[in-house]
């Protein structure tokens, strides 16, 4: 696909100017949430609102993954009764949401971040510690 091809090109050819790390927000406990504070390095690259929307969407999806509700209880009890062998054929709810998050990040990168010379790294690749945003050199300035 043309969009992912340009993403690969950018990763290989463009020089990395800086990396910004969005840290975790622990104010609601150990649940996986990221800070929505807009980093100053992105000021001239992307809209503050757009960025906050992305982080909020990610936070909502992680909250959904860790939610304690009837679905997670049923899954937990079923797993215990089958001595956790049920996960050999079925994905856990958390894993399903992680796939959804990966797809969302890919989509955001393709539509919004790559055209602005930015790249979001899926937090799962950084142990859910940070959202890493790589800032590539702005080609439009060098043309």
């Amino acid at each position: 696909m043309a969009e992912t091809h340009s993403l690969q090109d950018m990763r290989q050819q463009a020089a990395i100017t800086a990396k910004v790390f969005i840290q975790r927000d622990y104010s609601s406990g150990t649940m996986c949430q990221f800070q929505t504070k807009f980093p100053s390095e992105l000021e001239n690259r992307i809209d503050k609102q757009q960025f906050e929307e992305t982080v909020r969407a990610l936070n909502n999806m992680y909250a959904e993954a860790e939610k304690l509700g009837s679905q997670s209880y049923i899954e937990g009890c079923l797993a215990c009764l089958t001595a956790y062998t049920v996960f050999l054929c079925m994905e856990t709810h958390y894993e399903k949401v992680l796939k959804k998050i990966a797809k969302y990040i890919q989509e955001q990168n393709d539509k919004i971040y790559a055209p602005r010379g930015l790249l979001l790294t899926d937090p799962i690749e950084r142990g859910l510690r940070v959202v890493e945003i790589t800032i590539f050199e702005d080609r439009s300035l060098t043309r």
């Binding site: 990395i16 990396k19 622990y26 406990g29 860790e66 856990t92 958390y94 950084r126 510690r129």
Partner: protein, 369 residues
Amino acid sequence: SGCSPCPPPPPAAAPLPPPPRRLRPFNTLDPLPSSDPDPPCEGSRSPRKKWQVFPGRNRFYCDGRIMMARQTGVFYLTLVLILLTCGLFFTFDCPFLASNLTPAIPAVGGVLFIFVMGMLFRASFSDPGILPRATPDEAADLERQIDSAGCSRPPPRTREVLINGQAVKLKYCFTCKIFRPPRASHCSLCDNCVERFDHHCPWVGNCVGRRNYRFFYLFILSLSLLTVFIFAFVITHVILNPSQSLTLLCTVLEVVVCFFSIWSIVGLSGFHTYLISSNQTTNEDIKGSWSTKRGKDNYNPYSYGNILTNCCAALCGPLPPSLIDRRGLIQSGTPQTVSQSNGTSNSSYASTQLHSNMVGEGRRHTARY
């Protein structure tokens, strides 16, 4: 007078080996991935998996599917004790009990035994919730933030966070180069930061943390039931059928093991039931983190308020996936985490050669002190 000038060297018959591209630490066991954009011309190596370069002190088996702590001697003792006692029970006591009382006894015993072994293996072999170490870029970014905060005094390595109204201090881990999330702790035996760290259990041969706490709890609970079950029926057997010397010897052995196990394991189950119902970890309980002795307003911010929700959350909550991706392949483009040589117990870094462009190299050279 000086020494006579050396004669010109004869033309070398064999070419000298090229000098090494960089100094490699003596205690690095594996060759480092190259940081040069050109691939190394030493011949292609099959792609390696991440568990092979894992920086913590863990052991991996079955191509990374199984992971345990370094010291596993006590785990084998646990296995031997359980297998021996159950073996003796099924061989010597069950035939009599099945024929004279009911065959349900060995059936129930069998189910309990399988459950105990299943939970033991699950607790011992899975990732307890290890937090992967920071990539060099992240570590550099954090260092910058920390240093910019303090001036002449040593910079503060703690961050304070308000969780549900309670102030919690997040500590900086010097080994993993991260600010530990709340409830995480660094296990010095395994040299890893573990999420919701409970304790390091030598009987299970692994740390007990967020991902395997429920298996550990179910293991000790079912083991208590199994021990009481075996104890009760062995006594029943002896009472109903006073027997010959060999069976008597086995009986005595079973009774002794069960008696001591009951006191310790049932007690431990009770303690962990209390911990689960109040949503605390062993680590927090021992330190008295949420005890009212520290202050009148001190309370546990993680508790859901009622016992039932706490229990359900601990035992039936969603199981998070492993963050360390131990069977993933190492790609040359991805940054590797900050690592140290296996075997050293300290974690000081004399040199910090951080690369600003993190497209290639990962491993940092270990410090020699």
